[in-house]
Amino acid sequence: MKDKGKLLMLLMIGSETFFFIALIIGYVYYRNFTEATDTVAQHLDAVRAGIFTLFLIASSGTLMISKRALNKENFKGFNIFLLLSIVLGIVFITGQVTEYIGLYQKQITLSKDVFGSSFFTLTGFHGFHVILGILALLILLIMSLGKLRRVSIAGFGGVEVYWHFVDVVWLFVFYFVYITPLL
């Protein structure tokens, strides 16, 4: 493989997958197989979360478009769509933060019960990964605006894969956290 950075990122994603599998197992375990109360589950708004999910998916799409622009050496398009991805990512994070605030106002917290613990841990770690991804994209954007164009493009492969990964993980999290209680 030519792109060392992308290879490294792929391996790291493989590793992170196991991390999230462990967290999801924890979540499913407490959700399904203990007598944990469902207070948090009852307060989750799947529709709202679904809308924010669309933002995150869209950000993956815009990132792909910006990659295509990069391959055609259309730097303007590249920058615009990169910026768009970042904005969409930030929208998603904003959604998550406001959701947390809403839940905390309803006294649903990390320490309320075991379901709260696993819910906030799982979504929190995902949110943390999204923030890291946004930072990486920002760095790419800033570098591509400046003189370091060549370097930023070299790092693009890795960051792109990472961003898609964060996106896919969210789909699983969304399914297990928001959809399964409805089934």
């Binding site: 197992i25 499913v28 399904n32 197989f33």
Partner: protein
């Protein structure tokens, strides 16, 4: 009572199935020129298919034996497809160079797609089976609940089993394609199989460890009437199912990986290219 009677009652053995199997085997032996080992693989495949679809074992499912369903699924999803692909000669039209379905020409074009497709079919198939069982018994199976006697019971079980077999073939194709040049590189096949193992393990884990007393108690009444003759407790049955999915399934892929690697260590591109030059002349 499940005893030898159950197995020797001719009614429980599908006669049409036997005829069909014999015909298929005969056709294979007559029309295809293959190695002896391939013939053996094919015969075993047909026997496995027959046992899964037409033998009393298929009927035992009706006792709500979760572990047996899982065994059936493993055979159809993992064992039979590999044997089947191994038994197909490389000049079969579907796989040969002449067959110009572009996507099948290079494994890198389709392996990801097939992985996902078969993973979805595997999980979907299992959940559908659980759903049917749930609808038949009116209880929840591994957290899956269907309304009693809902439309879902109309789906014939054999359809799901056939789908699983097809999913198995699709899944095994990138690694066990009869044409060697269309296979994934050895190390990539190992990773491909390993990722499948992870997926498989998760299902096994889920099934095995969801067998807590609490979840089972709710379904106890329905099952005791259904399967009073079976000498397995409900919990043991479900754990057995999960563990079967997990341990033998994974060991099968580990063995496949190791056998792929063993031939890869010996691989000698020099010899290969020399013979290639030889044939070119």
């Amino acid at each position: 009572m499940i005893n030898t009677d159950f197995f020797i009652t001719p009614d429980n053995w599908s006669f049409a199935g036997i005829i069909l199997s014999v015909l298929v085997i005969a056709a294979y032996l007559l029309f295809l020129k293959t190695k002896t080992s391939q013939k053996a693989y094919f015969i075993v495949t047909v026997i496995l298919l027959y046992v899964s679809f037409g033998s009393p074992i298929a009927l035992l499912r009706d006792y709500g034996l979760h572990s047996l369903t899982m065994l059936q699924h493993i055979v159809l999803l993992m064992i039979a497809p590999i044997l089947f692909l191994k038994s197909i000669p490389s000049n079969t039209i579907l796989f040969s160079e002449k067959f110009k379905l572009n996507i099948l020409q290079q494994p890198k074009n389709y392996y990801l797609m097939f992985w996902w497709l078969s993973a979805v079919m595997m999980w979907g198939g299992h959940f559908l089976s659980a759903g049917i069982l749930s609808a038949e018994t009116g209880t929840s199976i591994c957290g899956i609940t269907a309304t009693k006697d809902s439309w879902i019971t109309a789906i014939p079980e054999s359809l799901i089993l056939s789908l699983l077999f097809i999913a198995g073939i699709l899944f095994a194709l990138p690694v066990f394609n009869p044409v060697k040049s269309k296979r994934l590189a050895p190390l990539k096949s190992v990773i491909y199989l390993f990722t499948a193992c992870v997926s498989c393990s998760l299902l096994g884990l889920y099934v095995a460890f969801s067998a807590s007393t609490d979840t089972l108690n709710s379904s106890l009444t329905a099952f005791t009437t259904l399967r009073s003759p079976v000498p397995l407790t409900l919990r043991a049955d479900q754990e057995l199912a999960g563990m079967l999915m997990w341990v033998p399934g994974c060991i099968l892929y580990v063995l496949a990986s190791v056998s792929i690697l063993l031939s890869w260590y010996e691989e000698n591109p020099v010899e290969k290219s020399e013979t290639a030059i030889h044939t070119a002349k």
